[in-house]
Subunit: 210 residues, 3 copies
């Protein structure tokens, strides 16, 4: 599919649907871990998957994707039900959840940053939009399940997203040379790797002096 | 009042004002139960009453009703003060709160779904908007009072809203035959009854397998 | 600078930047008190500083200032880092935090009310917008750090904001006589003083009767 290879909307669609599924799975897993019932798992899974994007769209004043494209809520719903019925074990696999969450963070941040640029916002603003769409769903998930948001506890969470957002927003100026997919996939890979390496090697951000 | 009988805006106004009052009462009751003072009770009551509608209006990009029609904040304020001064006992009547909450859920969900349709959103999108306006206020109330949202704990809460939203959104296609009020009141009754029956008979949604 | 003396936008810019800095400091101090690391302190500081304004802009459908003017996020970032590196002690100075918070409350409420009026909303609506932009950041800070929002616990918090908002919104009718700065600074002073006096003398709002 040569043509669509440089079509940002195609990348956005695919990436957002995958991100939606993994965030829904991450949210649903957290809910399963809290022993919530079917509806609780679905609601938190769906809100977690669509919250970041909705926050992004409301901020840049775009029509919320979840209301204009039925595939997003459907994917979120299916992924949540899948986790509920076939993988309650997921809730005990903390690693799986962290990896899913890192993937969703990477995908949503990059897609969100690009959407910010597409809507004509400045580089710094596109980065904020991107980071917010990346961390929004997870914050919603944690606030609803009464936990201090991972973004505040986990080292290099928002930081990983910020790095990727900057790569996309700044790199966009040379996009014609780099290529849209190359740029996007690079940023996604960077966020994903930084996040996982930070977890694996327990990178510690400085704590405040007493 | 024959003419207004088929006027959706008339139904929306009445239903939303009633829903606003009951949600404010529900939020204020929860706040009274938490022993918050006058201001805390009023703030949580008002936010709980207007939060769902504001969320809905921001998502569908409508001018927030609470900013364009003074009756909503006024009703929410009065209902909150009423609960504070005349019915602190309410806070001990868990049943009363649950019934109030079920009524608000039914009214806001139906009105929200119709507004979604009026704004030209697809059937599925109108359902999401309706459910969100129905559960938004309660989620806000619980998050602010540091509880895991009822929508996640209580069985058949979001589910009852979803059923009613589907009735309104799908039934709208035959509205000319069914009649606007008939359709709306049916959906409101269904949500209300399903919710109360679920509470009364402790309907249990499946829990995740270990 | 005679001309700009009556230029509302000038007042709004200065006041909002100062308010952004103090709210970021207030949020960062709370985060330092929770022993969060560098990123957690920055994220909560920035969200706390920009949350109220974003909420206001989304409600009145204005382009979020944080996305159109890089100075806001920059000021919020710098203030958060400043608190993290140079004043971890702040977290132990409860008084300092309360004063900073009162200043931010006063500035954001007044600026938010004026923006509501500038956008053509009714007096009561401008007051709601103003109060929400004043208390929004603090609510976000407390919800994210898992505390019952100060606005619900502290007496005369939302109340102080409401008084100032009414002064601005109602006084605006005689603004030509009173003068823009006079009106704004009076309201700011009133909110600030009422809030501090309420804290100092432990003004108690009535508690619900049992």
């Amino acid at each position: 599919m040569e043509p669509s290879e440089f079509d940002p909307t195609a990348l956005m669609l695919v990436a957002e649907l995958v991100g939606t599924a993994v965030f829904a799975a991450s949210g649903a897993s957290a809910a399963v871990g809290k022993r919530l019932d079917l509806f609780g798992v679905v609601v938190i899974g769906v809100l977690c998957a669509l919250g970041g994007g909705a926050l992004r769209d409301v901020l840049i004043d775009a029509k919320p994707l979840l209301l204009t494209d039925w595939r997003y809520p459907l994917v979120a719903l299916v992924a949540s039900l899948f986790v509920f019925w076939f993988h309650p074990a997921l809730s005990r696999m903390r690693t799986t959840m962290l990896v899913l969450d890192a993937a969703g963070l990477a995908l949503f941040t990059v897609v969100g940053t690009q959407k910010g640029l597409d809507f004509g916002f400045a580089v710094y603003a596109a980065c904020i939009v991107g980071v917010l769409s990346g961390i929004g769903g997870g914050i919603l998930r944690d606030v609803l399940s009464q936990e201090i948001p991972a973004v505040l506890r986990e080292d290099f969470y928002a930081m990983a997203a910020a790095i990727g957002a900057v790569i996309v927003a700044v790199g966009a100026r040379w996009e014609s040379m780099i290529g849209h997919w190359t740029l996007a996939l690079t940023a996604i890979a960077v966020i994903f790797v930084v996040r996982l390496v930070a977890i694996r090697y327990r990178w510690e951000a400085p704590k405040p002096k007493i």
